[in-house]
Assembly symmetry: C2
Homo-oligomer: 359 residues x 2
DNA sequence: CTGCCCTATGACAGCGCTGTCACGCTAGGG
DNA sequence: CCCTAGCGTGACAGCGCTGTCATAGGGCAG
């Protein structure tokens, strides 16, 4: 297609020579700037195409101070939520002419390394902090950077950010369970021993508020902390809940991941869902639908897209840092894992009847 | 912590001035080069720290021709496999002092844009192509680039790559089902209408080879193509399989995603797994364990890690491009979704007995 | 004591762009 | 017919580093 094999990449000067114009003109043309005559423009573009010319961002950056890159700091890369958020973010950034630099900081070592070397500094125009629990010290360090920050799926006072209203969403989810007749509603929250993932107490707060509104007594026995991915911890929690004098008829899981495991454990001990136990998740995980899990769906992709837009704005006008906040809606998606509380409709509530099934 | 607020980022010259040495010396020190006296080194490092100095890669790149960046081309970002692969890749690259630039190219438009503008060109030291089906034209364009290429989870003649032996793995999985007494083994392959995801016929080939080895007649009625994430298509395929004169007793799904949906569909129509139908997946998806899905586990993270190492090598010595191939092992992980074929042990095989259960 | 080598450091050009300024040329009014 | 605008283009410096070459100074052998 092209013809000549281009060894190390043509320079702007090469294009200029081929087009018979000055480098300045090539630069203007390629940036769509100022007034360039149609003929010149055509010749330059032809030459550029023929040489497979791609501009060196390094050189431009050096002059303009802009890198055309956005750094993204994430606590991991293999969770559904982050994947979805990045899936929204990446194309949106590209569309704005920005490249995406990803820093996955998972271990303490990587963490120290990142904040020590600050690789993003001067090598990106903005830093997006996604679901990443910063220590005060780290926050201060980033603040010193003088680099525009955007917080994604988390919020910080006076900083640009995009996130959902966790309190309201959890309140809504809990009300939904209450409306189904449930009064004993457990809450499973993920343990975060490493302290990497950003999490407010927001969802738990919403849960408690909804219960209080409904006049249901608070019972901290029903709130249990479990490991996200590890089995035993969740088994134990379920055992505890089921052995209470007055066991719950519904469980609100802070994340879908926990809900999934919960479903598995419940199936293992032959507790039918939702007949004897309703399960409500939070996230809108891609697997929620096939699993028939009721959930509070976060618009993960749209969080990413909104983040890209914020990044663009904040780069363009760094002064508006703190004024830009986007709150996205959470959607309650009722599915088969939630149903009326035993006794509230036509359900039996003897509790100890045989529930063994074939699966 | 630092004191002075650094507005636009200190330069190497600022550090030099503060340390009372020349820029050259600062450069040498920071790169750990050549001989710098311990005292000088200490003073320079102190000054750099005090100024929150971070080197401008743009400037270095301009001189050295190296960007310290690796571009990664992926067909999406929200699949489990790619997330896991990137989760392995990112830290490994960072450890090698490389930053990771991610291009998620999902739509035809993005695709044209990427290959037209070639953003990776001259802005990265290598391009990793991950599970991305390149058109011949695109391949040619990349070849013209003169940029080191590494193929991940796919292979190309004479190009560096890291992948698993799909044929052998599928053969092994199929043999496992055969050894459980299954003779009628269906195969579900994902439709890829957009043609984005790279996929050889390798797994299907391995499946067929194993059947042939075992002297089982090939029956293309048992091979069905389904959409990965979409329900109806899979429902229809299951319907077809179950309505065959001699229905299968096992299904080999080309990906775990398909297997998950298959499990849901089977539960919906009250076909007990594995009593009446064994299900075997492929991928080693994080959800496979909680779902109790037998699968052929790919070392996704290690693919990423190996890719980082290949990238490093290929950047260091571009001449060795084609010689570097890494083949990683696939592990058969038997779980509860596979069991002996009906009739081969102590199972009934009447087929129409009541299989309804409570779930 | 002299000369040489080696170590530690500095000077300087230049990487590939962009932004500023200057300049030539054409068109239109006085 | 000359002067002034304004458009299209070129010249040139300089962004912040690195690599090369030059050089000062100290130690050691002769």
């Amino acid at each position: 297609m092209v013809g000549e094999a281009v060894e190390k990449g043509a320079t702007l000067a090469d294009v200029a020579e081929r087009a018979g114009v000055s480098p300045s003109t090539v630069s203007r043309t390629l940036r769509g700037l100022s007034t360039v005559s149609p003929q010149t423009r055509a010749r330059v573009e032809k030459a550029a195409r023929e040489l497979s010319f791609a501009i060196s961002r390094s050189a431009s950056s050096l002059v303009t101070g802009r890198t055309g890159r956005v750094a993204v700091l994430v606590p991991n890369l293999d969770s559904w939520f982050l994947g979805a958020a990045l899936a929204g973010l990446a194309p949106a950034l590209n569309a704005a002419g920005l490249d995406m630099l990803v820093y996955s900081v998972t271990t303490a070592e990587q963490r120290a390394e990142f904040f020590d070397r600050l690789p993003a500094r001067r090598n990106a125009d903005a830093l997006l902090v996604v679901s990443f629990a910063l220590s005060p010290r780290e926050r201060a360090r980033l603040d010193d950077l003088g680099m525009p920050l955007v917080f994604v799926s988390q919020h910080e006072q006076g900083r640009a950010g995009v996130y959902v209203d966790d309190v309201e969403a959890a309140r809504r989810g809990t009300r939904y369970l209450l409306n189904l007749g449930h009064r004993r509603i457990a809450y499973l929250e993920p343990a975060d021993p490493s302290g990497f993932a950003w999490s407010s107490r927001a969802r738990l707060d919403g849960y408690r508020e909804a219960l209080a509104e409904a006049g249901v007594d608070r019972d901290d026995e029903l709130v249990r902390r479990v490991a996200d991915w590890q089995g035993p911890s969740l088994d134990a929690a379920v055992g505890r809940l089921l052995s209470l004098a007055e066991p719950p008829t519904a469980v609100f899981a802070e994340t879908d991941d926990i809900a999934f495991r919960l479903l598995t454990v419940l199936r293992g001990v032959n507790v039918p869902v939702p007949a004897r136990m309703s399960v409500l998740g939070f996230d809108g995980h891609a697997m929620a639908e096939p699993w028939d899990l009721s959930t509070l769906a976060q618009p993960a992709r749209r969080l990413g897209e909104a983040a890209a837009e914020l990044a663009r704005q904040v780069i363009q006008d760094p002064a508006t840092h703190g004024e830009r906040h986007v709150v996205l809606p959470v959607e309650l998606v009722p599915r088969g894992s939630t149903g009326p509380a035993p006794g509230s409709r036509d359900e039996g509530d003897k509790g100890e009847e045989d529930v063994r099934n074939g699966g």
